[in-house]
């Protein structure tokens, strides 16, 4: 008798569990997707539709707002600055972060755990607290309002991720592969370039793109530390405040889309960062 009751009860519990699971997934997806959906609709609508209610389900594909932005004074310079800063951030965070990731994964040294913790803690330190001293220091050194100066700040923001992602990538490569290369005639350096580098190149690319996105999205430091050479985020923040609603939407749209595409492209490596197996 008991076996029969459990047989009946088990599917019920499983069904309930599945229901909770599906609901949670739907809610989470909606949380992310609904705002993006409205952003899309409003960007591709004429100013009248943006201010009306209810919204149409399908966008009208009115490119008015976007064309306006393309011709907006300073817009292209800001875009160029954004790409420059993000590009520099990308290169610097990998050049500095990847060796740290390699050291963490391959060597035992005193304070290794503390070092890992400190890397994470840099992210816990609020940027606004740093903004004033940084601005003062930058003005003293002449780094203020330069693309390179801002890239330095963005690099410090991106490095923790670069270290953690590359640490996980290097750890995924058995040390024996390097050792085998050493016994086959490689130095430490050639073993790295001939064996390790080809294997982690996709991951390094992903980590670089992630650094690019961090810089692309960053607005606070960009707004504080630049005046003439504004990045796109800082530029839009400054100008959208006073813009009509449909332009705000369009501005938001141009900021969100590249970041979304990049993150989507490198998503499996971001899982790797938190130690979830991706292979």
């Amino acid at each position: 008798m008991t076996s029969v009751t459990t047989d009946v009860a088990a599917p019920d519990a499983r069904k309930a569990g599945k229901f909770v699971y599906v609901t949670a997934v739907v809610l989470l997806c909606a949380w992310v997707l609904v705002p993006i959906y409205f952003l899309l609709i409003n960007t591709l609508s004429s100013p009248d539709t943006v201010n009306s209610f209810p919204k149409p389900f399908w966008p009208e594909f009115d490119l008015g707002s976007l064309t306006f932005f393309a011709g907006f004074a300073g817009m292209l310079t800001a875009l160029k600055n954004s790409i420059l800063v993000a590009g520099m951030t990308m290169i610097m965070s990998i050049v500095i972060g990847a060796p740290a990731g390699y050291a963490l994964s391959r060597f035992d040294f005193r304070g290794k755990e503390l070092f890992r913790l400190l890397i994470l803690l840099t992210r816990a330190f609020p940027l606004p607290l740093l903004a004033l001293p940084l601005a003062v220091m930058f003005i003293q050194t002449g780094l203020d309002d330069t693309v390179f100066g801002l890239a330095l700040v963005h690099t410090t923001l991106a490095i923790p991720f670069a270290v953690l992602i590359t640490f996980s990538l290097f750890s995924g490569i058995p040390i024996e592969l390097e050792e085998a290369a050493w016994t086959l005639g490689c130095t430490r350096l050639t073993a790295f370039t001939k064996v390790v580098l080809p294997l982690i190149l996709p991951g390094i690319t992903a980590s670089a793109i992630f650094a690019f996105v961090i810089s692309w999205n960053e607005v606070f430091a960009a707004a504080v530390l630049t005046i003439e050479n504004r990045t796109l985020t800082a530029f839009l923040l400054q100008n959208l405040d006073t813009s009509p609603l449909h332009l705000k939407f369009a501005g938001g749209f141009i900021l969100v889309v590249p970041a979304l595409i990049f993150i989507f492209a490198v998503r499996k490596y971001l899982f790797a960062m938190w130690g979830i197996a991706n292979r």
């Binding site: 050792e179 050493w182 016994t183 490689c186």
Partner: protein, 346 residues
């Protein structure tokens, strides 16, 4: 000529002493097996010879040249790893040719040597594949071929067969032995598998707690274990031990029976291999506890005056648990050990 000399090598990891003052000479073209349980230091010793680990003290010489300060690539060695370490981003051809390319050999020479070693290891049809498309056994062959293609003076192998299944292991064992004998290289082979050690080695170094307990030919290690550890480690089932009390003038009482043995007044341990026991009129009285018919023979686990005692008997015998057997040890196969030093007594 590639004689390997290991002189006074010791290794400590922090407070842990992994190797104590190791001295070992391996002849040119000798097949030396380092045998021991995990954690005995055998892999550490191999890695010190390879240059992947630095000895805390001591020297390593290969072919009359001191090499312990050189990086792995300048030692004239090639190594086969336990997990094969086949490069996943290269084809089998490029894997085998990796070391040759590093030496900047011309293309046709690389091709010639890769194809020859691939043929030797029977993987010539796999040259275009990647390691992800290979089975464990095939990867193992690639790893060995890659080492052989270097035509090294010394080939080092770290448990190369331990990740293969039993049947494949037996096949590879014989093949590897043949290939290495032909290649005229000196080989150090690390394993915890005594069957591999016995069947492949010219000489076995049995290691225990960071020391070499005995270095001798397989049959010597089997017949004349230098210490209790070796006697208990080699042989399946291992040697039997019984306490022996002296009754004077080389006479001993073992398991309630009189035996002849070495002249000594101390208490010793009597040792005999399970297969060196014969049912007889006189001998040790053993009560059978478990009877395991293994096909080729009968393994009987018995009790002799409270001590565990195993006998390998003819499979035609009928023995039931509870039977009392009278087992006579083959006198020339009996060994004696000093329980304090654990060393063999002549």
């Amino acid at each position: 000529m590639a004689e390997i000399q290991i002189k006074n090598v010791a290794k400590t990891f922090g407070a842990y002493q992994a190797l104590h003052d190791i001295n070992l000479t391996i002849q040119d073209q000798e097949f030396m097996v380092l045998l021991g349980a995990s954690g005995c230091g055998k892999t550490t010793l191999l890695r010190i010879v390879a240059g992947l680990e630095t000895a805390t003290t001591g020297e390593v010489w290969i072919g009359g040249r001191r090499i312990d300060h050189l990086p792995p690539k300048d030692r004239g060695i090639a190594m086969v790893f336990q997990n094969y370490a086949v490069f996943p981003h290269l084809t089998v051809f490029e894997n085998i040719g990796f070391g040759l390319r590093m030496q900047k050999l011309p293309n046709d020479e690389v091709k010639r040597r890769v194809e020859r070693t691939a043929e030797l290891m029977h993987i010539e049809q796999l040259l275009k594949r990647y390691s992800g498309e290979l089975s464990g056994g095939q990867r193992q062959r690639v790893a060995v071929a890659r080492a052989l293609a270097m035509e090294p003076d010394v080939i080092l192998m770290d448990e190369p067969l331990s990740n293969l299944d039993a049947l494949l292991r037996m096949e590879m064992r014989a093949e590897l032995k043949g290939v290495l004998a032909e290649s005229n290289t000196t080989a150090i082979y690390v394993t915890h598998d005594q069957v591999e050690a016995m069947s492949m080695a010219d000489r076995i170094s049995v290691m225990h707690q960071g020391k070499i307990v005995q270095a001798a030919s397989p049959i010597e290690v089997y017949r004349n274990p230098a210490a209790e550890f070796v006697a208990g480690f080699i042989g399946n089932p291992p040697m039997n031990f019984l306490p022996a009390t002296p009754s004077g003038n080389g006479k001993w009482t073992v398991g309630g029976q009189d035996m002849n043995g070495p002249v000594s007044s101390e208490t010793l341990k009597f040792a005999i291999r399970p297969e060196d026991l014969r049912p007889s009129e006189t001998g040790l009285k053993a009560t059978a506890k478990v009877v395991e018919p293994l096909g080729a023979h009968l393994l009987v686990t018995c009790d002799v005056e409270g001590a565990l005692f195993r006998a390998v008997l003819d499979s035609d015998m009928t023995v039931k648990p509870g039977d009392v057997l009278t087992l006579a040890p083959q006198t020339d196969r009996v060994r004696w050990f000093n329980p304090e030093t654990t060393l063999a007594v002549a």
